[in-house]
Amino acid sequence: MNRALLQLVVARVREILRQPEAVFWTFLFPVLMSVALGVAFRGERPDPASVVVVEGPGASLLEAALRADNGVKVRRAGREAAEAGLRTGKAAILVVPGDPLTYRFDPTRPESHLARLRVDAALQRAAGRVDPVPVREEPVTEPGSRYIDFLVPGLLGMNLMGGGLWGIGWTIVEMRIRKLLKLQLATPMRRGDFLLSHALVRVLFVPLEVVPLLLLSRLLFDVRVAGSYGALALVSLLGAVSFAGLGTLIASRARSTGAISGLINLCSLPMFVLSGVFFSTSRFPEALQPWIRVLPLTALNDALRGLMVDGAVLSALGAPLLILAAWGAASFLVALRVFRWT
């Protein structure tokens, strides 16, 4: 590394560490947010479906039959109160006694749909139905298969993206606005060194973004890394470098903090939704899939999940790693060409 590059990196690191608020917002805040999300979606047993048996002849028999199933929560109520419960979401389904029995529920609500299946099965079995195929249920809550195990790699990817876009995009634009850039441009400083120094600083701070999150999710939720830590480190670094490129690219023309925060949101918000941070990308239509797959955050999340959840080896992650590297290289090259230096 040449001396100018080293000094640029050292100066930038000093600046970051001397701003406690920046350290908080850049490194601690995402971790805290991730922990909060982890707590919210820690994936414990779902609440039993809330079933209301409407008062009427035979209501108590129905209630007794349903009580036998501990997957539902049963209560009895008058017609009016029951309807109100259904409207406000306090009841998933109403069972109205009579011949035939009536189920009142909203089929577009997943929990109502589930409740309908459970209630029906319980009532039919209580009335003497015998299932022709014997089944055994095997609930799986092993580490690795829970929602939190899906979520943590996504949050990791999201943090690496945020760090690259905000950490670099915002910093460069601020330097441009404050004319700090201009002052350095009058010197023989190499422009490539300047851009490279920001990417290197990102690489240096990756451990601060990755390790606390991994540590906390291990301690709080027992989230484990199935693959190797070395591979995880490599993928995280590649992700950081790739988003450093993207951050540099979006900062290459912007001349105000409004413009850069708009650009950052324009890049990151679609990826929050599309790239499988909180839920699987498979929820989107087939036609969108090729587009979703080439997004850098999708690639990073896929690679991180492959490592942490499935214990994949690096060689099995060729496609996402290639996509990440391509994004990084292409953005740096374009940024170098279109960068507004003065």
Binding site: R3, A4, K182
Partner: protein, 307 residues
């Protein structure tokens, strides 16, 4: 004499505004050359073009014998620049900033030595955000000096400084020039240009209106004394005064007469005689040396700080 900076037919146009309209100037090796003019005259634009931060609309610029766009990093390593903007990364110390700038140059001076030279040694470990405006300008100067450049280009290095700080800045610039190096400095302080510069170019509205040594420009007024007075009674016309022996020029401004004269001992008595003849009584009267300000006013009819 070898030319350090040579500019011919320099034009810089923004959409509708012409910032520089056909400027020519030549800075020789080893001299301190001043770009003098009011704010908005095009000094900063000219300087930014000369140091290769801005591309001219047309015109020829040669710096240390080179053109921009050929081997810029090499050329930049031979020039030290302090721009008007003197904000640095807030939370770096003076020493860290100078060290950073030193690292950009292939060869240069010890940062500590340069900090000492600009008089910032007491603030060497202070964050730049805690510096005063004057200290920040000295830091900018240190950053320009640390690459040990052949040519030092300073844009308004003393604007907003108190007189003592201006004097100190002037000393540093002069001592650099005294080592045989070249300085190009812009300022709107006439007295400073006069004190600091070997030659000056007076710039007005993007054009050069005069160039030469400060003393030759003052001599061009026809005399180096200015008699200033107001009338406490009576009236006299400018023409009346122009006829007086030894008077080279008359200007009336806000009721005060400014009479340029060659030889005070001849002109002042004759001037008083003429006033008495016309029945006019002078109020306060003072005699001072002509300055570059008088040159500027004489050429443009405006004062430097009018705008």
């Amino acid at each position: 004499m070898r030319s350090s900076v040579s500019v011919t037919g320099l034009v810089k146009r923004y959409d509708k505004v012409t910032a520089v309209g056909g400027l020519a100037l030549e800075v020789f090796e080893g001299e301190c050359f001043g770009l003098l003019g009011p704010n908005g005259a095009g000094k900063t634009t000219t300087i930014e073009i000369i140091v290769g931060l801005l591309a001219p609309t047309s015109g020829e610029v040669r710096v240390l014998g080179e053109r921009w766009g050929e081997n810029d990093p090499l050329l930049r390593s031979r020039i030290g620049v302090a721009l008007q903007e003197t904000r640095f990364a807030d939370r770096l110390t003076v020493r860290e900033v100078v060290t950073l700038f030193r690292s950009f140059y292939p060869k240069g001076r010890d940062p500590g030595e340069v900090i000492l030279e600009v008089g910032l040694e007491e603030k060497a470990e202070a964050w730049t955000v805690r510096l005063s405006g004057g200290q920040r300008r000295r830091l900018a100067l240190a950053c320009a000096l640390v690459g040990d450049p052949e040519l030092l280009v300073l844009d308004e290095p003393t604007t907003g400084l108190d007189p003592q700080a201006r004097l100190r800045m002037g000393e540093t610039i002069r001592s650099y020039r005294d080592r045989g190096r070249t300085v190009l400095v812009s300022t709107h302080y006439m007295d400073e240009a006069q004190r600091l510069c070997d030659r000056v170019a007076v710039i007005d509205r993007g054009k050069r209106i005069a160039m030469g040594t400060p003393s030759s420009l003052i001599e061009s007024l026809g005399g180096d004394l200015v008699v200033e007075f107001v009338l406490s009674g009576g009236e006299v016309s400018e023409e009346d005064l122009r006829e007086v022996d030894g008077v080279r020029g008359v200007r009336r401004e806000n009721g005060a007469f400014h009479v340029t004269a060659g030889e005070g001992h001849v002109t002042v008595p004759a001037l008083l005689d003429r006033l008495r003849d016309r029945g006019a009584t002078p109020g306060r009267m003072m005699i001072r040396h002509a300055t570059l300000e008088d040159v500027y006013v004489n050429l443009t009819g405006r004062h430097l700080r009018d705008e």
